[in-house]
């Protein structure tokens, strides 16, 4: 069947120019985020606009509403709606040994550095439900470094931290995690680390012996220690460039000299004020060493 359309869907007359001025939707979104900040204290004002817009519209559609303003009315008057939106706005997608090649590279290039330290302090910023914290704990144990390591695992969201502490993850993902573990250079059998319990996979609680889970807000909270390694993968992508730059300042201040900063595979330090203070180890992995 040949579909031929004579008229292209171009509006007649003077086309509406893409405007540099904030349009009405942008005004509505900025008002909503300002309202949320002033009423509830959650600060999403410097989050990446396009992804905030998408997630707001997802909520608007699910609630059968038709505008950001309509959502604002509900969010400001109904804490239940705020709670729903909070879950929408904080992305908690994670996996054990996510990006296995990163872990393999970490083993090869960072572990030898860590061996030279008597004590290793690691900050996992934006740890979500903890899968990647457990992954790092396994890696350190297999490399014989766990006993002298302490991992500070933080997230803005208390709910996900509770789940991280519980250490129970969906059984149906164990096959995927096992594959990741092997590709990440795992040295044992992945199944040694968990037992099927409570309808999930309960992970070896000794993995969290040296882990401190704690609430921390990258947007508003200060540095709380000095670290040898900071991991923050696929968290800053939700921030706009200005906020990214601010958080990089926080990381720089929190990292010991020759400490290691780890970002997600599609994140960069380009155009950040501390770009020149780091040297990338083993590209394409986003593992940077603080050199000045």
């Amino acid at each position: 069947m040949a579909v031929q359309v004579a008229e292209a869907p171009k509006p007649v007359g003077e086309p509406e120019r893409p405007s540099f001025k904030p349009d009405l939707e942008r005004i509505e979104i900025e008002l909503l985020l300002e309202g949320i900040f002033r009423h509830y204290g959650f600060d999403f004002r410097a989050y990446a606009y396009a992804s905030v817009r998408r997630r707001l519209w997802k909520r608007i559609e699910e609630e059968g509403l038709s505008s950001v303003s309509a959502l604002q009315e509900q969010v400001l008057h109904d804490p239940g709606m705020m709670e729903k939106l909070l879950l929408d706005l904080s992305i908690n997608v994670t996996a054990m040994f996510r990006d296995p090649n990163f872990y393999a590279t970490f083993r090869e290039h960072v572990v030898p550095l860590l061996r030279t330290y008597p004590f290793i302090r690691i900050w996992h910023a934006g740890c979500s439900t903890g899968e990647e914290v457990y992954s790092m704990a396994m890696l350190l144990r297999e490399e014989g470094l766990y006993d002298r390591a302490r991992i500070y695992a933080t997230d803005i969201n208390e709910v996900v931290l509770q789940r991280a502490k519980a250490g129970i993850f969906p059984l149906e993902r164990m096959q995927e995690y096992t594959d990741n573990y092997i590709r990440a250079g795992g040295k044992r059998s992945f199944s040694e680390y968990y037992t099927a319990k409570y309808g999930g996979a309960l992970f070896d609680q000794s993995l969290t012996k040296n882990v401190v889970f704690s609430q921390h807000n990258l947007v508003t909270d200060r540095s709380f220690s000095e670290f040898n390694v900071i991991l923050c993968r696929n968290v800053l992508i939700y921030f706009d460039k200005t906020l990214q730059s601010k958080v990089h300042g926080l990381f720089y201040d929190s990292l010991a000299m020759f400490g290691v900063l780890v970002l997600g595979s599609k994140e960069t330090l380009r155009f950040m004020s501390h770009e020149d203070s780091y040297q990338q180890i083993a590209p394409p992995e986003k593992i940077f060493r603080k050199i000045k």
């Binding site: 040949a2 579909v3 031929q4 359309v5 008229e7 292209a8 869907p9 171009k10 509006p11 086309p15 509406e16 120019r17 893409p18 405007s19 540099f20 939707e25 990446a48 606009y49 396009a50 992804s51 817009r53 998408r54 997630r55 992305i91 997608v93 696929n234 800053l236 992508i237 939700y238 460039k241 990214q244 997600g264 595979s265 599609k266 994140e267 960069t268 380009r270």
Partner: protein, 198 residues
């Protein structure tokens, strides 16, 4: 000065051959940025940009988060991330797959249309699923320009056929026709040089 600010392209199965032909027919000084979602596996990640770079004068660039959109550049969505268009830049997310896809063509298209409105050109090429049709519909809703590869010539007609079903007003063209149309649409009355979107 072109009335258009961005071209967004979505494809899956058969996409490499189609993109090769389409991008190969565009000049190095194509005046606006192009953003592409090609569904692919995580493993193929390193290969695709090089394969495309070998056949086009445009600059092929795999997206990093917050990359600036540039004229004469093809911004390629990375495997396993959604790519969203924001004003003058790209923002990546790892939220759940949409219609089983990450990157999602729909999300790329919708974000481009919401950002550049009538300045958006959306193109759906060959593919074996129905991603892209909702996004194309959104582009038309915002006053943008919708083009679909003629299913007759597509390696896998499912994706273009679905797009035509959802967006009957879309212009249906061969790959050569799409390239010619893009050049024509973006080279409209030139006045004072090029414009890159901001």
């Amino acid at each position: 000065m072109s009335a258009y600010s961005i071209v967004v392209i979505g494809t899956s199965w058969g996409g490499l051959a189609a993109l090769t032909k389409l991008l190969g027919a565009l000049p190095a000084d194509f005046p606006i940025p192009i953003a592409v979602v090609q569904h692919r596996s995580k493993e193929s990640e390193r290969l695709l940009p090089q394969l495309l770079q070998d056949v086009t004068d445009l600059k092929i660039c795999e997206m990093d988060d917050k990359d600036e959109l540039r004229a004469g550049t093809v911004h390629l969505a990375p495997a396993d991330y959604h790519a969203l268009i924001d004003t003058g830049l790209i923002t990546l997310t790892v939220e759940d797959p949409v219609r089983f896809s990450r990157p999602s063509i729909d999300l790329l298209f919708i974000s481009a249309a919401d950002t550049y409105r009538t300045g958006t050109i959306g193109i759906v090429l060959t593919g074996a699923n129905e991603d892209g049709s909702r996004g194309l519909q959104h582009i038309v809703k915002r006053g943008g320009y919708a083009i679909v590869q003629d299913p007759k010539n597509a390696e896998i007609p499912i994706m273009p056929s679905a797009a035509i079903r959802v967006v009957p007003s879309a212009e249906v063209l061969s790959l050569e026709g799409i390239a010619a149309r893009l050049i024509e649409l973006t080279l409209e009355p030139v006045q004072t040089g090029r414009r890159t979107p901001r």
